[in-house]
């Protein structure tokens, strides 16, 4: 059973998404015109951000990274993620490459800066890298947490 991972509900984001698709269309049709080439590509690793009652979660879709090479820093409310990969090295030196058919995957370094919402406790940031997704969790400060108020009946 599949359920939506997240849904696009912000109109601003929909505009960006549409622009992205338009760009992609132009790029695909006039440049390479490869049949069934990768769609929905973002030049940088894509980021999804969500929140629960007690934390903010950031997911970076960046496959093929060496976890040791991921650099995370927080300064004021700016979270910076930098890492990279070299797809040319994935084959190993002994491979005898005679040509290629497709090169669509990202290779190189990237840096993403994310403005964090206010009210987060940035002293304790959790980060783990699994199956090519970097998951970052930042707890909300005590006073920002959603509180449930019990209604008493007299």
């Amino acid at each position: 059973m599949l359920r939506p991972w997240f849904s696009l509900s912000d109109p601003i984001w929909q505009d960006f998404d549409r622009l992205n698709r338009e760009m992609e269309k132009i790029f695909n049709e006039n440049y390479f015109s490869p049949a069934g080439a990768a769609s929905s590509r973002v030049p940088m690793p894509a980021v999804n951000i969500g929140e629960t009652s007690d934390q903010v979660l950031i997911y970076l879709f960046a496959p093929g990274l060496d976890p040791k090479g991921i650099d995370l820093t927080v300064e004021k409310n700016m979270l910076t993620i930098s890492a990279g990969r070299d797809t040319a090295k994935e084959l190993g030196e002994e491979a005898k490459v005679t040509g290629y058919y497709r090169k669509e995957r990202f290779s190189g370094k990237f840096r993403r800066v994310i403005a964090l919402p206010e009210g987060l406790d940035t002293s304790t940031i959790g980060a783990k890298y699994k199956n090519g997704i970097l998951s970052i969790s930042i707890k909300k400060k005590e006073e920002e947490k959603t509180k449930k108020i019990e209604v008493k009946v007299d």
Partner: protein, 135 residues
């Protein structure tokens, strides 16, 4: 509920035009690939972040190689989105193989969201070194 390639997907149905609903549906994403030709075969790399090994499906039917992968749920159930760039739920892509591939010896490995498939060339089409003897 709408059927998409045999899989059930929870679709947000309230509000919006049919076009909008179509677009808001979690998509099956075409993964970007690199395909290299080697002396002894072809190597394919596909970026499929979020897919664990057990959610991967690699099949060869006649001369068509199909790769499929489902993104495992990693988000807590009570999450609400703040900002979304990627709303894929699964990956799928198909490739037509040339006649030179020995389909019985295809190897697939998955590491950090990158699928690697080695498609060896069949023995008869591999380059052979012919020794020239000088008399």
């Amino acid at each position: 509920m709408a059927k998409v390639k045999g899989q059930e997907m929870a679709v947000k149905t309230e509000g919006g035009t049919p076009q909008e609903q179509q677009r808001l549906r979690p998509v099956v994403v075409t993964p970007p690939v690199d395909i290299y030709e080697l002396e002894d075969g072809v190597v394919l790399f596909a970026d499929m972040p979020g897919v664990p090994k057990e959610n991967l499906d690699v099949q060869v039917d006649k001369n068509v190689l199909t790769i499929k992968g489902e993104i495992s749920d990693i988000v807590p159930s009570d999450i609400s989105p703040l900002y979304v760039e990627f709303n894929g739920k699964a990956y799928e892509r198909a490739f037509t193989l040339g006649p030179d591939v020995d389909v019985s010896k295809i190897e697939a490995t998955m590491n950090a969201g990158v699928l690697k498939i080695f498609l060896p060339k069949s023995e008869e089409v591999r380059p052979k070194k012919i020794e020239v003897t000088v008399e």
